[in-house]
Symmetry: D2
Subunit: 324 residues, 4 copies
Amino acid sequence: MALTIGVDVGGTKIAAGVVDEEGAVLASALRDTSAADPVAIQEAIADVVAELRAQHEVSAVGVAAAGFVDFANGVLLFAPNINWRDEPLRDGLQARTGLPVVVENDANAAAWGEFRFGPARHVDDMVAVTIGTGVGGGVVSGGQMLRGAKGMAGELGHVRLVPDGLPCGCGNHGCWEMYASGNALQRNARALVQSGAPEGRALAELCGGDASRLVGPMVTEAATAGDQASVRLFADLGRWIGEGMAAIAAVLDPALFVVGGGVVRAGELVVGPAREALAANLTGRSQRPAIAVVAAALGTQAGTIGAADLAREVTAAVGERVAG
Amino acid sequence: MALTIGVDVGGTKIAAGVVDEEGAVLASALRDTSAADPVAIQEAIADVVAELRAQHEVSAVGVAAAGFVDFANGVLLFAPNINWRDEPLRDGLQARTGLPVVVENDANAAAWGEFRFGPARHVDDMVAVTIGTGVGGGVVSGGQMLRGAKGMAGELGHVRLVPDGLPCGCGNHGCWEMYASGNALQRNARALVQSGAPEGRALAELCGGDASRLVGPMVTEAATAGDQASVRLFADLGRWIGEGMAAIAAVLDPALFVVGGGVVRAGELVVGPAREALAANLTGRSQRPAIAVVAAALGTQAGTIGAADLAREVTAAVGERVAG
Amino acid sequence: MALTIGVDVGGTKIAAGVVDEEGAVLASALRDTSAADPVAIQEAIADVVAELRAQHEVSAVGVAAAGFVDFANGVLLFAPNINWRDEPLRDGLQARTGLPVVVENDANAAAWGEFRFGPARHVDDMVAVTIGTGVGGGVVSGGQMLRGAKGMAGELGHVRLVPDGLPCGCGNHGCWEMYASGNALQRNARALVQSGAPEGRALAELCGGDASRLVGPMVTEAATAGDQASVRLFADLGRWIGEGMAAIAAVLDPALFVVGGGVVRAGELVVGPAREALAANLTGRSQRPAIAVVAAALGTQAGTIGAADLAREVTAAVGERVAG
Amino acid sequence: MALTIGVDVGGTKIAAGVVDEEGAVLASALRDTSAADPVAIQEAIADVVAELRAQHEVSAVGVAAAGFVDFANGVLLFAPNINWRDEPLRDGLQARTGLPVVVENDANAAAWGEFRFGPARHVDDMVAVTIGTGVGGGVVSGGQMLRGAKGMAGELGHVRLVPDGLPCGCGNHGCWEMYASGNALQRNARALVQSGAPEGRALAELCGGDASRLVGPMVTEAATAGDQASVRLFADLGRWIGEGMAAIAAVLDPALFVVGGGVVRAGELVVGPAREALAANLTGRSQRPAIAVVAAALGTQAGTIGAADLAREVTAAVGERVAG
């Protein structure tokens, strides 16, 4: 049995796990860390790996991190949350751990997890869309992770949906994530409460009348309880999600969209309208089957599991070459 | 020396060529054909293959055709110009010719030609965009042709650029090709002439005052001769091309866009503004290198050359497996 | 008691009525007419006036016609349906009838009718919006008919709502009437049926499965019977209506929008969403009262009644000047 | 000779002038003031009026102030810069000065000045557009100031040009002023410098490489000196200005647009593209004359002159009634 470790490096903490060939997490460990000190983060990763190796024999380590990744060379080109620029993360960690290491973008790793062990495990072409604060993405095409020339493929949240639209932190206008993210939901919900319109009453009560304290889970709570304005906010969000999926489907033609992230807790309130909007806007829809939209299955462990599996794949391939 | 035949099946004629490993066309042949009769087209393909085999020894045939293609099974699922629905083209042609056959979407085949022997031969990730009557596309990612789950990937002309925008023949609104195609150029040029505005005078003269007779090459002619309104029409077209490329780059992160099709005859008048608009709208542009935009090199032979090369690849792979 | 005649000149028929100071129609008459013959139309108007004068003593005639009208001089500058170009309609009809005549744009006349005798009779600032095949408008501001420099004010249906949007017959893109008219409703309903989506089943049954036979009243019928897809089609239409109203309100700040035309038969199914969208998009909405949206009251007689009243106003003003 | 005083009340200072029947300013005076103290502002207005009356005999006072104004009752309903809510400004100032007073919105007063003594003095229907930090407007229709039901007409900067567009401080998205104002110019110029693109070099030099210090006049300077990127920034701004004018023209059909504000110092660099975009988007443009676009003539005195003239008009009308 070949076990590998997956490590998901976030801005404030590091989550790691020992993962088997079926995607099961056999052990896990956590570290707080300081984003300001790139060396300390490498040491923390090595440390958490050592802790897990004391429990299980493992053959390789996969690291998932936010940012632009040069997968072939294991270099983190740019990380938004950590002070890494052209950081040779793979070589550094191989030296520290003595194990083979692969480095992958975190959204890609999570997508790979869902592709291998989640709802996309029976297809070769899938797109994972994570609806959190922003909108992240990962693409598997023909069974291969799609990485692009500079490790920047799958930046789905920054596909432009609206010309001259809402300004995005990325410097562009009208990016998908300005309309289809948890932030968009929160922005629209707050605007409703601030307007003082009577249909916003249920949400106003949930935030004690202070729109600036209104957050997504309150909208989920209200919508689930039947508040029509909140249901409409999710339907609107779902419509934008589906319209963006249709644009992406014209490029990638996946068999499946897997939707993850906090917003998905609203379930069919948001996934249903997304599915409808995708179907209504799908290119060539009268000459082709619909594309399914399903909820992600691995939750916050998707990155860890996916990174561990990518480590297994790469080291297995190397092993084959050596053995051949 | 392994030679293969590429066949490009259009709505009114079939172009075929014998292609060597360097992408050179050693011999070529042509057939008129009737789109109404799918059987006659298969016979015409077999016939043109026979004609070329009389001149050169070949090992396989690659067929490029417009439509949705199931590459793995060699089936044409849907063709817009020919009465093919779920047509088992590969098996039919293998039976007729006794040679291994592969079937590919024509835009994909052309993209593959540019990828292997054109300006994209030094990169692993490229997008070919063909600006003709509409906008077609083909994607190579990580050195692999991107085909999607149902052979419908790369329908780049139908990425939505404008919500509630111009209606497209595909049933959607705001598709890229409604703003970035030769048809769009013609539509805008005709509108300028019809408006009677003085800046449209040069174009009005070229079409004898009858806007319905104004076609793209006249705009190219006027722009090349320095007519400022025509220069602006191309700049506007280029801007839309570049804005669409930026959306696609957020998904695919190619190293290169290769632009082909009739409109490209206007050269930098259209490619320059496209390049500028791509740079100005590229996601993460301050943290990443620009993406190059270059003109296609293989012209109308791209489909033939690409199909022939795909046939060589596939049969070589089969050969290796047999030999291994 | 001062009675006047109002004449509403349409493309295929002329409707006329004797109207009293309270807006009541005491008698009415009708003529078919040929749009091709402008002289015949003048004769038909004179004829219908003569028929009504045989029943009632009248002091003036008001004529409402589609087109751009020079009100001060009683000239029809351009009519879309009738072959009138710079037609001196007032002088021609005064010569034929021996009565004072005023000529007004038909949408303006209808707006004036609603302003004087309909739901807007208690306000000084109102906008009448007629949702028919297209979207027409008439504006009263400070108690005065708003006509503009060339009689072309109130072309509300051609305010641009969507940049690079749907092409309009007027030569522009994204005009309000492409999204907020009966034609838009029909287009969207037909697209739903053509898509074959299950939620279009009720509409498909009403048109016998032939989308090209689906018309607006069928959508009204289905929506009234509770078909959710049809309810959504009206909600979407109403949303566009309200969004356009908000743009117009930023310019005109009316006390009231009066909505007429065939689509209004759907009642609150369309007026409700329009009112909501206006409220949600109204400039300065937190510092100002809402603007009411109500259904028109005079129906197809609004133009006749309004034209008759304008004739009374103008001749009364002349009378005062003479008497003064 | 009837002289009146016009007072333009800004957020930080009060500008007043004695104006004659030809719109000439015979004397002027200035006060600093504190926006926080509404009573102090009334006293400062009374004080500046007293100062001017010591020099000239005047018959009335017109006050121009930013905000929503109930003209009939002389009440400032809401002022964005001064702490006035439902302030009975007319009655307060009449009590303090013993003169008849009228109160008008400042953009309306400025529009009235241009209408009476500027380039619009020969037409009855005009729209004044002030391109400053935001976009302000004033409308004269049929020779009458257009005020609307609640004194909120002419909020032209808040006509929506882009659905789901840039968020505006007013709470809406896609308002005209987000694309057509001095702020928009500055935002786009800064983005160009920040992008590091070579064409932004001239602007980068003007602001010492610090985009946050780049302001509109630098763009004017660079464009005037021939910097092509700056010329394009103005052309883009002008295009948005003209597209908004076309939307407004469909409602109001003015004979003339008068464009004022700081941006206009760039002259034809911005007015030319505005005129072109208006012509290209004007409703019914093939059946109607073009609408002229000209620069404002009265500069920063427009509000003072317009307010003084409105005071003369109203008191003259009262005088006539009394005399009659």
